[in-house]
Amino acid sequence: MVSLRVYILTRVLLTIPMVFILLSLVFFVMRILPGDPVIAIVGMKASPEHIERLRHELGLDKPLWRQYIDYIAMIMRGDLGRSMIWGKRPVSTEIWDRFPATLELTICAFTVSVLIGLVTGVFASTKPGTKADVGLRLFSIVAYSLFIPLLGMLLQFTLGVKLKLLPVAGRKSPLVQIDRITGLYLLDSLLTLNLVGFVDALRYLLLPSITLGVVLSGVYTRLVRSSMLEVLREDFIRALRARGIPEGQILLRHALKNAFIPVLTMMGLQFSLLLAGAILTETTFSWPGMGTFLLERIEYRDYTTVQGTIVFYALLVAMVSLIVDIIYAYIDPRIRY
């Protein structure tokens, strides 16, 4: 067995090429294909001289390899550069502005989907082959196939417009003020003891996170079910029964914990599903997060911002998988020792 320290270090180091690969991919694809950020910036009427000057300012007149090296060097310094279009704000600031919204949404959607997934998956696995099981399997398939915009629209229309139960778009009411500390409204309002803000932010969060959560819960239901079934077939479960351990205890203390390992591994990968789903959710619910931001900036060929966003996404994915690995090692003693 390789020591845990080496294991984690290896995983950390492996994230570097991953980020690097994605970054290079985006960098070159974006520059090879037509579309010029400068023209998008200056709009229609700028003079060629003005455009040339801007290109020079932004370093776009240098040869491609030079731009690439410069960019990599910049990234190495931990600098994501500045946006090329309006504001020319540092990309990190732009991301920092939007990311909390996405994070809040994904965390809540994740919670929703895992809760639904765990409950339904465990339930289905205890009664394989029954009507309830088949029903839940169907649920998992249909849920995942529910096109996020369609489900979102449906919920907006019914719960928001017809029943007027929940707000349909945005992150909070116009009149409610939440001081930014982390950018996560739920957390910030709690930290500032702003109950009104908290409830308001929560109400705004409900529809998007339910939409995303329900769609993704299908994945978890299926995952939890199959991995529970797998574990329940194992010898040690039979051995536990033979030792007269109560069934509930077997299920929750032994089976679920063991079943959780493959679920956890998948969670790392599902995180990317969550991010992808978040784009459609954000678009549907006007959620001012990373997804809508990326879409907007792609349209304007804001090279640095798009690159920075992709790097950020890649880092995020890498970090999550790293965290998952560490949790994994924490749960599974076979890795720890």
Binding site: P34, K88, Q156, G170, R253, Y300
Partner: protein, 523 residues
Amino acid sequence: MRRGISKVVAVVAALVIIVAIVGIAYVYQARKAPAEKEVIVIGTTDRVTDLDPASAYDFFTWEVLSNIAEGFFKYEPMTLELKPALAESYEVQEGGKVWVLKLRKGLKFRDGTELTAEVVKWSIERVARIEGDPAWFVLDFVDKVEVVDKYTVKIVLQQPVAFFKAVLAVPTYFPISPKSYPADEISPDNTAGGIGPYYIERFVRDVELVLKANPNYYGEKPRTKTIIIKFYKDATALRLALEGGEIDVAWRTLNPSDIKDLAKNPDFTVVEGQGAYIRYIVLNGNIEPFNNKLVRQALAAALDRKKITEGVFLGTVSPLYSLVPAGMWSHIDAFKEKYGEGPNYELAKKLLAQAGYSETNKLKVELWYTPAHYGTTEADVAAAIKESWEKTGMIEVEIKSAEWSTYLELTRKKGLPITLYGWYPDYIDPDNFLYPFLHTDSNRWLGKPYSDPEMDKLLEEAQVAPDKATRTRLYEQVQRKLAEDAPIIPFLQGKLYVVCKKNVKGIVIDPYMLLRYWLIYKE
């Protein structure tokens, strides 16, 4: 450890349940909460780009700027007369080459700086120095700015400009405080503003913008103390927000069908106003067969404007027969005069036959559009144009699309044969609707689709002609020639709509188009 995990699960579950209960309780409470009268919430799908006059060059940012700052003149609502604002009076010298402005005395920015001639000079020169996108408003016209005395500024132009007063009214010329803005770089998130009816209390990009009435404003007090702008991602969300009661006013841009639908709803008022916003088709004269005037004319004749205005936009826009929008002085329905209301398939067929095309030898054209920049309706617009042209039986249209920046780049490099564009005026003058499109030196951005010495001459003359009558005559000539040559086919003029709650009053939409927040109030 195992205990730990089950504990975590329990805590999470408990939290979720508590939160759900509190949430539901709040829902009922919130629905009963009375809306504040002192606040008006405006929803929009637009965005603020750079809150800096030196860089802002888009509809909505200008709207915000014109509520938090002012220029030397401002348009009187509805009449569109330019009334003195920061300038008490002005004087035009040397046949329109020199403009002398006398500033109002004792005006102060939010940071306490007094508005002086020095500040004005600094502000204008800052625009020129920074060379942001709208810098041409200064660079193309102004030669130098001189301080005459503490409250008098002299602006010397490169040559006389008939409509410079209108230019002076654009937000690029709004004076700002040197204490709050950096001298030579763009300050995109700067909330300091200038001197205006409102000031920005809080700005969260893409989320909200909170405006408060400026207590030190010299002019008429705003009717509502607080204006909140909420930003939405699309029209659907905007409508839902309006119906959900989150916003009092839905401003740009609702879906055509929603506007029609909301008009039927007794809870809302739909305010309609003619906008100076136009859409047009550009036929690239550098590319075969659009160098053939007959082809261009045929396409102009075969265009079914109604299909677009009634079909795609459900009548929320009107057909347009000239680049100069209806309602603007000098406007004539030039295309209608020449080709009829359209589609005139007989004429189109005749022209096509002359150009050598037939049912078997069809004219094959490529029509390009950009899917996002002009809203989600754009694909339908392209489809409608295709359909109306193909009805002649002698044209075959292939539709292609490209993302905005690609679209622009390809257009500029003269790569695209037929493109769809739209135009918001920079300043309210026919010049702004003709010169940039038709003058040889200025339509580079469209890939120089058209160049005609006669046209250039007409346009240049009109720019400097001192009296309106002469200019009107010249512009009418330009418009007729445009219809004859048909390098650009205008097809619609936007109407502007504001949908608001029944108790919201004071909304004014005129060709200036930018909403004046200070007039809006709740009953």
